[in-house]
Amino acid sequence: MKLGGPPALSSGVRIVWMLAASIFFGVGVGIVWWPTSQTIASYKTQAKSLYDDANQDETEIAHASELRSAARRVEDDVKLLSAQSSAGAVTAATLRLLNGEAHAYGVDVRSIVPAPQASASPGALAGTVVELDVRGRFRNLLAFISDLPRHDVLMEINDVSLAGTGDRSPKPVLAATIHAAIYRYRGIGKETQHASGAL
């Protein structure tokens, strides 16, 4: 650029040009555009990452309804299978059951001996070990053993020992010692019960 005029004016022109250029590049690019665009890019990257994470979470949450219906089914099943829950009711129901089953299968329940210690049953089930002394014919005993756990008392048959009674008839009476455990369903922990309520 050729500048005419007095020297003071030409230097003033230069200064104005430099000022214009420095405002455009220094302020516009250096102060306004560059840092702001960097901040915007950083915000966008963070927002994208948060968006992806939230999407992933929401996909999992979308399956909550399936989980809810599965929990309901299992709860119903547990309710159906768990039978009596109070200790007194369990004892009464056990005695009633043994009497009924003995009549139904023609066996003689001679003794019921609860063990003093509770059986090892961590979690939701509280168990008491019981030893039953029963006499009857082989097939009757098997039917009795097979049917006992299917009623309103949660009884697990752990072990059976059979022994002769000296009966020499073709269908001899056998003495069976049945080791069983009677359980009471206590439910699950309080914090998970709370979650169950949220279901």
């Binding site: 516009g28 555009w33 927002a47 939230a54 949450i61 979650a195």
Partner: protein, 184 residues
């Protein structure tokens, strides 16, 4: 303010602002300076709008993630509850089947005893069952052990003892005890 309508229609105040008053050489750089200031100001305004949009989008996504994290935590709690329920359910089913499973095992053992032998006791011992019985001679005892080998519940029958019964007049009845392992 004085107007000279014959010479010029523009008032003196406007006259003073005319570019003509600026030196010719300064007009272009000053126009460039003004343009630069205006452009940078507009640029700054646009950048501020874009920045505010990006910031609000970031806040929106952060809030969304926070909400989803809370819901996810509840979901995990529900899942843990369900796992516990499933485990209890499986245990309850096992308890309900226990009698039938044991009776089937005993019936299976009894069904693998030939007609020439009969059982007098079945008792649980360490790692299996001890079966006591009588057989019509050693052949019948051998047949009993061979039959027990085909049982689906008893494995590896092992003869513990066999002796002739003293009270038997014919002298053929053999008392025996066999130990078998249990197949689960």
């Amino acid at each position: 303010m004085r107007f000279n309508y014959l010479r010029d229609g523009a008032p003196d105040a406007f006259e003073q602002l005319r570019p003509r008053r600026l030196p010719e050489a300064l007009r272009t750089p000053l126009a460039a300076l003004t343009t630069a200031v205006i452009v940078v100001a507009a640029w700054w305004a646009i950048e501020q709008v874009l920045l505010s949009q990006a910031r609000s989008e970031l806040q929106r996504q952060a809030l969304r993630l926070q909400i989803s994290r809370v819901e996810l935590a509840e979901l995990k709690l529900r899942r843990s509850h369900l796992e516990q329920l499933v485990s209890v359910d499986a245990r309850l089913r096992e308890i309900r089947r226990s009698g039938a499973a044991l009776a089937c095992g005993l019936a299976d053992i009894a069904n693998h005893v030939p007609a020439t032998a009969w059982l007098t006791s079945i008792a649980r011992v360490d790692g299996g069952l001890e079966i006591d019985g009588r057989a019509e001679g050693l052949d019948a005892l051998g047949e009993t052990v061979a039959d027990l080998m085909h049982s689906s519940r008893a494995v590896a029958p092992d003869l513990i003892r066999a002796s002739k019964e003293d009270r038997d007049r014919s002298g053929t009845i053999v008392n025996f005890a066999v130990r078998v392992g249990e197949r689960r």
